[in-house]
């Protein structure tokens, strides 16, 4: 077994383990941390597949930003675990059928009949100075420019919608404007008065 193959199995085993822990741990904070571990291991797998941009972007975006916010929210929640697990036995058969269906579909789509080495040959590995990031950037900004721009616009609309849905204007609330406070000058608050000495000096 080559070293790369060994690494692949290590990452894959940790990934499956972490993914299982995500859905089985009772404590939601533990689940989120295991999800972080799962992301790390999939980043490792992508690195092995010579997709270094995707691997680093996964760590940067998902682990570094999205999961931090996730953790932020989950830490603040006071989740009643007993209530959450109440319908477990009743719903288990339905969940089992859905899981089974999804499993069968996955096998049918990515089974060895379509993706085996005899159908799709392993891509030749690139030399060390090959820049995956640069290739991706060129493809994204030439061939797929419209798709890229449309995706960006959809995301922007999503942000605007989320803010529009959650923003409440409450005129009765008093609040400070930090911009005005930061722009304040000494002359706005303080008046130096020149005056003669009073009384006998």
């Amino acid at each position: 077994m080559s070293f790369e193959k060994f690494l692949f199995y290590v990452f894959a085993a940790f990934l499956v383990f972490a993914a299982t822990m995500v859905i089985t741990r009772r404590n939601p904070v533990h689940s989120v941390l295991f999800l972080v571990l799962a992301f790390f291991n999939s980043a490792g797998l992508w690195m092995l597949a010579e997709a270094e941009f995707l691997a680093i972007a996964l760590v940067l975006v998902y682990v570094g930003a999205v999961m931090v916010l996730f953790l932020f929210v989950v830490m603040m929640l006071d989740i009643n675990i007993a209530e959450l697990r109440a319908g477990f036995v009743r719903n288990a058969p339905v969940a089992f059928i859905v899981a089974l269906l999804m499993g069968i579909e996955l096998v049918m789509v990515v089974g060895s009949g379509r993706f085996g080495l005899d159908v799709v040959a392993a891509p030749a590995s690139k030399p060390a100075d090959y820049s995956n990031t640069e290739e991706l950037g060129v493809a994204l900004f030439t061939e797929h420019l419209y798709a890229f721009e449309i995706a960006a616009v959809i995301l922007l609309v999503g942000i605007v919608a989320a803010i529009g849905l959650t923003m409440r204007r409450r005129p009765e609330t008093k609040y400070q404007d930090p911009a005005l406070q930061a722009a304040v000058k000494a002359s706005d608050r303080l008046r130096v008065v020149k005056m003669d000495v009073e009384g006998k000096a």
Partner: protein
């Protein structure tokens, strides 16, 4: 030198890499230790005090140079108290999660032309990814401590770091547009020119340079952005429950991160190891020409700024921190990325032609 090089190439690659890692880590750790000493001394002199001046070596006081070592020994022998109700495993993992990324980021840092542990293409992205991971140590420490103050500190820190990461990332996008590469060595090479310091990126990218460094101060939770510790409000923030070596590791991580931000600012905006003097003056001289000593000097300059800030500025209020990050820095960086792109497309002399 012949036999030494022969011996070196005869070593297995793994051993070679370990030796290289040690060659980066050991000086870094010594620098961290003496950075704490420098901080106390610098702030002391700014406040007309003397600072630590008792602990020396073998009966010699030596201006208190033994202080960091005495502190380290003291912290090592102190008990690590684990609060009742704390999540023991996460409580102990948190400090390592804080220091790990701070050290791992040095893997792609070039110290001189070609002198780098891992010369990867996506170096800048890797650095960004690593610096964004440091926040986990803080959050997990705050949550696992089972303490209200620690949790408040962790939440403040998480929101602050995620906010300033965006401004920082955008500032680095400007650097990447200007240099046309994500490789840190290439970024330094792109700043090379006959006129020395006028060719460095600090001039065309001046707003991004300022935003980057100030975001770096916020990212490392240093004064005036140190609300995560905020001793006047929440005792010591996320590490209030930590003692002994577990606390010391947080301390090390903070200082290692400060050195990293200082070194990266020097690398990306002040030409790294390039000499600030015009080429015609410096080409024959070892001391005046390009070299590691320039990088070290620039890094020390930025490291001094961190201390100067702490001694000078009062702490920001939290809503003002958020306003500065989102409403001031991010718009500045977005506008300036467009400006840099236009400069680059127009091949503006003398940085981009």
């Amino acid at each position: 030198m012949g036999p030494v090089i022969e011996l070196w190439t005869a070593l297995p690659v793994v051993i070679q890499i370990v030796i290289k890692i040690l060659a980066i880590m050991l000086p870094l750790m010594i620098m961290v230790a003496y950075y704490t000493y420098a901080e106390r001394k610098v702030i002391s002199y700014m406040q007309v005090r003397v600072g630590p001046n008792r602990v020396g070596f073998f009966g010699w006081r030596l201006w208190g140079l033994g202080q960091p070592i005495a502190d380290a020994v003291k912290l090592m022998f102190k008990e690590i108290i684990i609060p009742t109700g704390a999540n023991k495993l996460l409580f102990l993992i948190a400090p390592t999660l804080a220091i790990g990324p701070a050290l791992a980021a040095w893997a792609v840092f070039p110290f001189d032309a070609g002198l780098v542990l891992a010369d990867i293409n996506a170096g800048l992205l890797y650095i960004l990814a690593m610096t964004s991971l440091g926040v986990y140590g803080v959050i997990i420490a705050g949550w696992a401590s089972n303490s209200k103050y620690a949790l408040l500190g962790a939440i403040r820190s998480a929101a602050q770091i995620v906010s300033y990461e965006i401004a920082m990332g955008f500032a680095l996008v400007g650097v990447l547009v200007a240099a046309g590469s994500l490789n840190l060595g290439d970024i330094v090479e792109a700043q090379q020119g006959g006129l020395g310091l006028l060719h460095w990126f600090w001039l065309p990218l001046l707003p991004l340079f300022l935003v980057y460094f100030i975001s770096g101060v916020a990212e490392t939770n240093r004064a005036p952005f140190d609300v995560a510790e905020g001793e006047s409000e929440i005792v010591a923030g996320f590490h209030v429950e930590y003692s002994g070596m577990a606390f010391a590791v947080f301390f090390l991580a903070e200082y290692a991160n400060m050195i990293l931000i200082a070194a990266l600012s020097a690398l990306m905006f002040l030409g790294g190891w390039l000499s600030p003097l015009p080429e015609s003056w410096s080409e024959d001289s070892v001391l005046l020409g390009d070299g590691f000593h320039w990088l070290l000097l620039k890094t020390f300059g930025f490291m001094f700024l961190f201390l100067w800030f702490r001694a000078t500025f009062p702490r920001y209020r939290y809503d003002q921190i958020m306003r500065l990050g989102w409403k001031v820095f991010i718009p500045i960086t977005i506008v300036w990325i467009v400006v840099v792109a236009v400069m680059r497309m127009a091949q503006m002399p003398w940085w981009f032609n």
